[in-house]
Symmetry: C3
C-alpha cells in the first residue's frame, strides 16, 4: 500500500455522516446507516494500510478492553485481542466461572464494577435465542447509566462479538472481503449471493452468521438468496430486515427451497450449517430450566435431524452450476470438510482447498473491522484523528 | 477537575514524610504513618484528576504486575488490572492450578521465579485465619532477599488485595469516599460511623472488611462503633489497633450490642455480614487437614448460625434513627439485598437503591488507591515525579 | 553495568554472520551456527544491561505474542511474558481447552487464525516423544505458508519453549550462566561438565533438559560427560549431535556408568531426573490411543523403576570429589530436594542451599535469552537496531 491510498480512505471517511457513532455501541448492522457501515470499511482499510506501512495505530496510552465470552472461541478472541492491542488497549477477560456475573441488578452492578477504566466491552453470547442481544443491551444500558451518574469517567462502548441475532464483526469482514475481491462496494450491485444451509455432524450451530449475512449483503443491491431445509428457518424479523434492505438498495431477497436453485448462476456461495429453529427455541427453554441432561439429549436429536439432509453439501458439481463455474466460496470457519474434519460435512475437500487462501484472507479482516468499530465509537472526528496519526508517523516496529 | 487541583495535591504530597514507602509493601494500614496514609489519598486523587484531564499516567515502559488470587474475585481483579495498566505495567496472573505454588522453600523459589522483571505482586488470600497475611510476608521476605542477593534486578513490592487481617485497598477507598463526601479529611473528626454485622444467607464471609474499616476509620478522630451478634467478634489484635488509634486521634472506639444502638445518630453506617469467629478458626483447621467434606459441612452450620440473626438487616426504619435520618450507607459490594439477590439479606432494597450511586462511586476509587500504593513504593520523590508527568502532558487518548 | 559494556556487546554482535536468523524460528540449538548462538548471548546481555541502565527495550508499538503451553508451567510462562513485555508485545495465551486446536488441516488453519497481528509464537510441548518438535515444525510451516500466500502481513516466528528433543531457552540460559560465572565463552574450553541422572519420586520428567545440555555444552570445547542408570538413555540422534559437536569444538563427549565417575574432577555438575526411555515411548503410544488409565498406570511403574536408583543423589560426599571439591552445581529447577520437597530426591539439602543463589541467577537469564531470540528473528540488522535504541535512550521507568 502507499500513503495516497490511506489519504483516500481518510478523505472518504470525512464525508460520512457518522456523528451518531460517537460513544455508541455496535450491536446490529441494521441499526447503522449506510454512511456508518461505509465508515467502518474505510476506517478498517485505513488502519490496515497504516499497519502495512509500519505506522503505529496506538491511540490509547492506557485503558482496558473487557471481553466476555459465553461460548468457546479462538478466532474472535484473537481478533478482539489484536484489535485492542493495535489501538493501545489491554484486554482483560471476564471469566464468569471465576466471578459469577448474573442478570438483573447484579449484572448492572458488575457492568459498572469492571468499567471504571474501561473503554470497550466485547461480548460473545450466541447459543440461546432471545438471550445474547438482550444481555448486551442490558450491559450497554448499565454503563450508559453509570456514565451519566458520574460513576464511570468514560462511556465504555460495546462491540457485539456474536449474539443470537447478528454477528456483525463476521458479516462486515465478509463484506469487506467481497468489496476488495470485486473491486469496490458499488461492484457488488446485482451480484448473486447464495446463503445456504449445509450439513454438519458436529453440533447445532447458532443462526447469527446466516442472519448477519442476509441482513448485511441485502444493503448493497445484491441478489440475496437463502436456502435451507424445512424447519431450519431463521428469525422472521431478520428476514424482514433483509427484505426491506433489498427494496431500498434496489437488490432482491428471496428464499428458495434447495441448494441447486440457490447456487445456480451465483457469484458468491456461503454454504454453512445451523441448528433447526425449534431446537434453538427448546435449547433456550432448557437452559432457563437448568436442564443439562435435556440439553445433551436435544443436541443428539438436533444432529439426528441434520442427518436427513446429509446431501446438502457444497460439491464440485454444484460449484459448476454457479456463474462461470467459479463463484467465490465463503465460510466463517471452521468448516466441516468432508473426508477431512468429518466423514460427510458442509463442503467437499477439493472445493474448500481451492478457496482456502481467500477464506483466510477474509478472516484476516476481522481484527481491523473490530478496531474500526472501536475507533469510530471513541473519536468525534475520526478522519481528523487518522490524519493526525499518519502525520505523526510513529513507527509500529522501530 | 482542573490543573490547579492537581498541583495542590502534588504540593500537599511533597510535604509528607514518606521516605519509608519507597520499595516497601502495603500490607496493613496500621503499619503506615498518618503521612503515609495521607500520601496515598493525595496520590490517588492526583492520578484520578490527571486521567480526567486526559493526561497519561504511564511511568513504566515495560514491567510485569503479578496477581495471585486465592479466592474468586471480579472487582479487585479489575481494579488491580486497571491500576497497573494506568501506570504502564502488564498484569500476569499466577494461576496456582496451572503452576502449583506452595509454602516454605518452594514458595521462596516461586516468588523469585515470577519476579525477574516484575515490579508489583498483588495477592488476595482472605478465607483462612492466620494464613493470608503470613503468606504475604513470606513472599515479601523472599523477594526482598532475592533483591539483596542480586537475583532480582528490582525489588517487587507487594500490595495486599485482601488478607485475613486487613483489606487496605477497600478501607482506603472507603475512606477516600468519606473524605470527598464530607469535604475533607478534617471533616471526618467527630463523625459517628457504625460498622455492624448484618444477616447474609450466601456464605461465610471473611473478617477483613470490618477489621480494615475499624482500624482505619479510628485514625481520623471519628466515633467508631462496632456491633455484632455474640460469637461474631473480630480479631482481638485488630480491635486493639482501633482502640489505640482512636485514643491517638481524639476519637473513640466502642463495641455495642445491637444494630439500633450502633445506628443511633450515626453519620455513616456500614452494615455487612461476616462469619462467626469460631467458624473462621475451624475453617482454617479443616483446610490444613484437607478436609473438604468438613469444610462443606462447616459452611452449612455457619449459615444456620447466621439464621438466628436474620433481623440484623439495614432497614428504612433503622436508617431513620441515624443523624437526620440520612446517614451515608456504605458497603464493599456485592451486598445481599432483601428481595433482590436473596429473600432476606443485609439491606432493604429501597435503602440500597437510594445509595447505589454513591456506593458505585466509592468502589470507583479502588483502581486509583491501588495505583497510588504502587506509585509511592516505586518512586523516591513521588511528588516530583507527578509534577514531571503533568509538565510532560502526554495525552492518555491522543 | 555501564554503557561501554553495552557498546562492546553491540560491536561484537555486528561482527556475527546472522543473516539466516531473520524471520527464522528458534527450535533446536544445533540448527544454529556458532555465530548465531553467540549472537543470542550478546543480544541477551545487551538487553539485560540496557534494562539495568534503565533504558527502554520496547521495539514494538503493538503486536501479539501467542503462547501455547501443552504442559503446566510457571517459570517458562513468566519468562516468556517478561521477554515479550520487555520488547513491547502483548502475550495472548491459546488455551486449548477453550479453543480446541488439533493437528493436520485444522492445525494449519488455527495457526493462521491466531497470527494475523502476531509477531511471535512460543510453544511448550515436551511430554511425548516424537510429538513436540513435529508439532512446532507444522506450526512454523503453516505460518510460513500463510505469510507467502498473503494471508499474514508478517511472518510470526516460533520460539521453542521446550519440546521432546530440545529445551533451547533453558540450555542457552544455563550456558550464559556458565559464561558469566567463568568469565567468558572461551573460558569454558576444557571444563568438565557432568550431566547426570538423579533420583526423583515426583513424576517422569521429559528428556529435553539433559538433551539440550549435552548438545549445547559440547559446542564450547568442554569435556561433556553423561551418566544415567541403564534404560534411561537419551535420544540417540541427540547423543550423535553431542558427539559431532565435541569433535568440532575440540572437546569431548562420553557416557560413563555412574555418578561418581561423572562427578570426579568435574567443574560443573548438573544432576537431574528424567523418565526411562521406554516409558517415554509408551507414554506417547498411550496418549495416541487416548488411554488415560494406561497413562496413570505407566506413571506408577515409572516411579517404581526410578526407586531402584534412589542412591543417585547429589550428596556432599559426591561434591567433594569434584574439582577442588567445589564444582558449580546446576539445576533447571524445581529440584527434588531430599528432606525438603521429598524424603529422598535429586540433591541433598545442604548442597542445594549452598548453590541456591547461583541457580536463581541462572534462571534469571531466561527472559533475556527469549527476548534475544525474538529480537534476532525480527530485525535484519539487530546490532544497528540496538545501537539506535541506546542512542534514543528512552527510559524504562520515567
Amino acid at each position: 500500500m502507499d500513503s495516497s491510498k490511506i489519504s483516500d480512505r481518510i478523505k472518504s471517511l470525512s464525508t460520512k455522516n457518522i456523528d451518531n457513532m460517537y460513544l455508541n455501541d455496535f450491536l446490529l448492522t441494521w441499526d447503522k446507516s449506510e454512511d456508518e457501515i461505509a465508515a467502518v470499511f474505510q476506517t478498517a482499510e485505513a488502519l490496515r494500510a497504516m499497519r502495512t506501512d509500519n505506522l503505529a495505530c496506538r491511540v490509547f496510552d492506557s485503558g482496558l478492553a473487557v471481553s466476555i465470552f459465553r461460548d468457546k472461541s479462538t478466532r474472535t478472541r484473537f481478533s478482539f485481542a489484536s484489535a485492542c492491542n493495535l489501538l493501545g488497549l489491554a484486554t482483560q477477560d471476564l471469566d464468569e466461572e471465576k466471578s459469577q456475573i448474573a442478570h438483573g441488578e447484579t449484572m448492572r452492578e458488575t457492568a459498572n464494577m469492571i468499567s471504571f477504566l474501561t473503554e470497550i466491552i466485547g461480548i460473545r453470547d450466541d447459543m440461546y435465542l432471545g438471550v445474547g442481544h438482550t444481555y448486551m443491551k442490558e450491559v450497554a444500558r448499565s454503563v450508559e447509566q453509570g456514565y451519566h451518574e458520574g460513576v464511570l469517567p468514560q462511556r465504555p462502548t460495546l462491540v457485539n462479538l456474536q449474539c443470537d441475532i447478528d454477528h456483525p464483526t463476521q458479516s462486515m469482514s465478509d463484506a469487506l472481503h467481497l468489496i476488495n475481491h470485486f473491486g469496490g462496494i458499488e461492484k457488488l450491485k446485482g451480484k448473486k449471493i447464495a446463503m445456504t444451509w449445509a450439513y454438519s455432524p458436529s453440533y447445532g450451530k447458532p443462526l447469527s452468521v446466516p442472519q448477519g449475512v442476509i441482513a448485511l449483503m441485502s444493503r448493497f443491491g445484491m441478489e440475496v438468496v437463502l436456502a435451507h431445509p424445512e424447519g431450519y428457518n431463521l428469525l422472521p424479523e431478520v428476514e424482514e430486515v433483509a427484505q426491506s434492505n433489498s427494496r431500498q438498495s434496489d437488490g432482491s431477497y428471496s428464499r428458495v427451497t434447495g441448494m441447486s436453485e440457490a447456487f445456480e448462476n451465483a457469484d458468491i456461495v456461503y454454504p454453512k450449517s445451523w441448528a433447526p429453529y425449534t431446537v434453538m427455541e427448546e435449547r433456550t427453554r432448557l437452559l432457563q430450566e437448568g436442564d443439562l441432561e435435556g440439553l445433551k439429549d436435544l443436541e443428539k436429536r438436533c444432529l439426528e435431524n441434520n442427518r436427513q439432509f446429509i446431501d446438502w453439501e457444497c460439491t464440485e458439481k454444484l460449484m459448476q452450476t454457479t456463474k462461470g463455474g467459479s463463484a467465490l466460496y465463503m465460510h466463517c470457519l471452521p468448516a466441516d470438510i468432508s473426508g477431512v474434519s468429518c466423514e460427510r460435512g458442509e463442503v467437499e475437500a477439493s472445493v474448500f482447498e481451492r478457496y482456502r487462501v481467500p477464506q483466510y484472507i477474509q478472516a484476516g479482516y476481522k481484527p481491523y473491522i473490530i478496531a474500526a468499530m472501536i475507533f469510530l465509537s471513541k473519536f468525534k472526528n475520526p478522519a481528523d484523528k487518522l490524519a493526525e496519526m499518519v502525520k505523526r508517523a510513529d513507527p509500529r516496529v522501530v
